[in-house]
Symmetry: C2
Subunit: 549 residues, 2 copies
């Protein structure tokens, strides 16, 4: 398998960039550096780990270096060795300094947001290979990609490659949703080789242990499964502890009932035994386990809507209130918490989801699946959900769970995973722009400036997906010179609005025009000479880059 894995994973720098490490308090913080043809460069947030180094990591058997083991963390606070406990005690951890450097913010902002429970740093002590990252609305919006083999569809090696591939394109965390056999082994390989935090849904593996019959589940089986995964280093776990017995019938009259797998498992158990969910009744014990490893709760929305018709209904919000109650309990144990959200929500009902989550759940980081803004486009649900994702992130959601084009239809392949991740990076970045995140607009401006100045390769290299940008460009203008040409494929070398804009700029500078007043003054003056000059200079102008209207 080793050889297979090694040969199957994707390594090496992303087109037009190279890994740049910044030394911060003895820690090495990675960035993706794009060198521009005008001598400048831009350092981008990098989630891809050592796989994109000049000399990439390929030893999957050995796993990634256990870097965090060499960092000195503070002593436990009241028995708790969690980022939350330390932050509350005013203590700054190496992880906090690391993420502050990555985000380009002051470390005190990191500490105070974690202390307030408005941000989490998912970092299980047993996952020392991970490069710390932060999830919270004061920071860049993050993206999660789901992987995981479901019986016979993929090998362990394929899953590791999916993880490497997803993080290459920008996934900030990975969720391993494996079912069927080899769950433990698959997860072990992913943990040891993942540079990003890994999340799981322990109830899936617990269900395997009872051969798929949810009514056979017990607290003991679930607890042991959580401990098994905690020991492996899982950084955050989805727990559907808000699906209470009395909420289940609220889903009965929905158009699409219960669509969450974990939610339906717990609903089945509650109805079968007619008892309250063991996840709810044993929540304190669960907190004790999570605290020991500093595992972060991702409180699952088992009753999330599965269609536009069911959005923001009684079942969904009843569960959300309970998630708020559980948030308080978890934090009282010093355990970090985030809250999962929908799903399928029409645009006019999106903001309410964030407002109620913040009000009822102490502003714990919100982690949503899309939401899809319409149900009518299967095969395009990465797009229907990117619309909802961008809007809900603008409203305050801290992390977005990606959706691939195969959602509702089939299992995502390698291309689907890339399209899903890139689409969600678009939604996350659009929200960062709207929220005024310090580093967000730098990249837009750098790319637009390159576009305006016909620095084609800079434009490609600054893109979320340089490979596809080049490929599309070359379909129309394959020749290498075209990548330096002062015109674009839209209209050819005859006329160009960009060139005219350059003339306008020269004209304005020539006449020192900065305000409407300057312009009006100039208009008053006699201008025939300049007019003639312009005609003389304006002979060779080309066609435009955006030929619409």
């Amino acid at each position: 398998m080793t050889t297979d894995s090694v040969t199957s994973i994707t390594t090496g720098p992303i087109r037009g960039s190279h890994k740049h490490h910044e030394s911060v308090d003895g820690m090495s913080v990675p960035f993706r550096r794009v060198e521009l043809s005008n001598g400048e460069h831009l350092d981008l947030y990098d989630t891809s780990g050592p796989y994109t180094d000049a000399t990439p990591h390929t030893d999957l058997d050995g796993g990634l270096p256990r870097t965090r083991d060499t960092w000195t963390r503070p002593d436990p606070v009241d028995g708790a060795s969690t980022q939350l406990a330390w932050a509350r005690a005013g203590l700054v951890t190496p992880e906090m300094r690391y993420v502050a450097a990555r985000e380009g913010v002051d470390v005190e902002l990191v500490r105070s947001e974690v202390a307030a429970g408005r941000a989490v740093i998912p970092a299980n002590h047993n996952h020392p290979e991970s490069e710390p990252m932060i999830i919270g609305k004061a920071f860049a919006v993050k993206v999660n990609a789901n992987i995981g083999n479901s019986a016979v569809t993929s090998s362990v090696a394929e899953e590791v490659e999916k993880m490497v591939w997803a993080t290459r394109w920008g996934a900030d965390t990975i969720m391993d949703l494996s079912t069927g056999d080899d769950i433990h082994l698959t997860r072990e390989w992913i943990m040891r080789n993942s540079p990003v935090p890994v999340g799981t849904v322990p109830i899936y593996q617990a269900l395997e242990k009872v051969k798929g019959d949810p009514t056979k589940l017990t607290w003991e089986i679930y607890r042991d499964t959580v401990i098994e995964q905690a020991e492996q280093g899982v950084d955050y776990m989805t727990v559907h502890a808000g699906v209470l017995l009395r909420y289940v019938p609220l889903a009965a009259h929905r158009v699409t009932g219960i669509v969450s797998r974990g939610g339906s498992i717990m609903a089945a158990w509650c109805l079968a035994h007619h008892r309250e969910s063991f996840l709810y009744t044993h929540f304190d014990e669960l907190c004790e386990i999570f605290r020991r490893y500093d595992i972060t709760f991702s409180l699952g929305d088992g009753l999330r809507p599965g269609s536009i018709a069911d959005a923001n209904d009684e079942a969904q919000f009843a569960e959300l209130r309970t998630l708020g109650e559980l948030t308080g309990i978890a934090k009282s144990h010093g355990v970090q918490v985030m809250i999962e959200g929908p799903g399928h929500v029409p645009m006019h009902k999106i903001a309410e989801n964030v407002r109620l989550e913040e009000e009822w759940c102490e502003e714990a980081p919100f982690y949503t699946l899309g939401p899809l803004a319409t149900d009518i486009a299967p095969a395009y649900d990465h797009i229907t959900s990117a619309i909802g994702a961008a809007m809900i992130a603008q409203a305050g959601t801290a992390m977005l769970c990606y959706v691939t084009p195969k959602e509702h239809l089939g299992l995502p392949n390698r291309d689907d995973v890339k399209v899903g991740v890139v689409t969600y990076k678009i939604a996350a970045h659009a929200a960062d722009l709207a929220k005024g995140h310090p580093r967000a607009q730098e990249r837009d401006d750098a790319l637009s400036c390159a576009r305006f100045e016909f620095r084609w390769n800079d434009q490609f290299n600054l893109a979320l997906d340089p490979d596809t940008a080049v490929e599309y460009h070359d379909e129309t203008l394959p020749a290498e010179p075209a990548k330096t040409a002062h015109f674009c494929s839209m209209c050819g070398p005859k006329f160009c609005s960009m060139r005219i804009s350059a003339d306008v700029r020269a004209f304005a500078e020539e006449n020192d025009l900065r305000t409407q007043a300057d312009i009006d003054a100039m208009l008053a003056r006699e201008m025939d000479r300049k007019s003639d000059e312009f005609i003389a200079s304006g002979k060779n102008v080309y066609l435009p880059i955006e030929p619409v209207g």
Copy 2:
């Protein structure tokens, strides 16, 4: 060319649907009828024309039937034979009745919105082949697709097929942006065979007549070009009459200057001659021409931002104020008007565009290009712009100009056109849902209900793109039986949240549970029997359709 054309156009019904005609006051109004396996059916708005009839139109030489010539329109009002003049006079035209039936609204709503100038019905008297449609915020959001050959890249036949192909997937109007040779011939073929309104940018052809040198343009050359196109039946024309001499220098200090082709042409002319734009100084004469044919103005935003950095700046809004002034003049001539908008706008600046357009332009229908919500994803700009498009449409934009994956990089091919149209139908529909358009949610609910009941073929057939939905499904579960299976490809036949939901529903009905009170009452009762029953019935449950969390 004929044979070529005939063989090259795409005809026949869209998968799982057939053309259904409704007779309205002697007019035949087309719908796309989807027959469902549960005996119900859904009629969808249909833009595809006779090309999707059981016996499709293929005679491109003969063109489409000149249906509207047989309709009786009211006499001119004060010399004006325009939908606006008639609507103001309280007169209802066949076109108004036709669009009311298509939209499923009262004809008086149509007449009053047109009379108020809040909606337009682009219908040149010389384009009798078109199926009338309405553009206004009180109606379904519309989508435009741009086609047009740019020298040597495509033949006339290819352009006609692009038009047929784009309307097949839902384009409500087409803009012919052809440049280079054969402009007149290409347009003639498109006009005679287009079932949707056609728009153009006359300045493009005028520029060809002066060999691409904008400084050589004159009012006379432009006027004659407009008349030439008006005679052919062009339904709406983009006119960049708001690019005034004194606004041009405002673009000098932008990151991306002037990106509108028409805008840059007029800017070059204004600077070269140092005179006011002839489009502005001759606007009254232009109105007289438009009135004669009932051509609708699409007042172009020549100074729209070409990057996030330039959004909502002084140049853009200065031009918008002038478009408002021109709106008043056009309407005083009885001419219909819509206003073009950006472009590139970050999410938090989108709403202001609609607010100012409505305030300054008398709520004339807004027609925007996207906008792109970020600049960093060339090759995915159909997605970056779908986010902005959905939001700006929710805020009141009446028509969206599509963007394809090739935007900024190259010329869209057939696949790009389809992806662009489907992506924009998603944005438009998401906005219709958010605005509560009467017919919008019907389709979402029908599809979600089919999904919940495992009516796979109904789910595919109700999708915006049934072909791709089926293709993706078959990649994982090719077998025909899988299309009727009571489980999905996500997890196989073992366990399914949908099935559990059905159990929950049965359970609730069995116990007559409708409110939380009913539920609490039941919980008080002794339930072991039902519990046992459920265990007995709960044995064969499957895996879920949305395996996330």
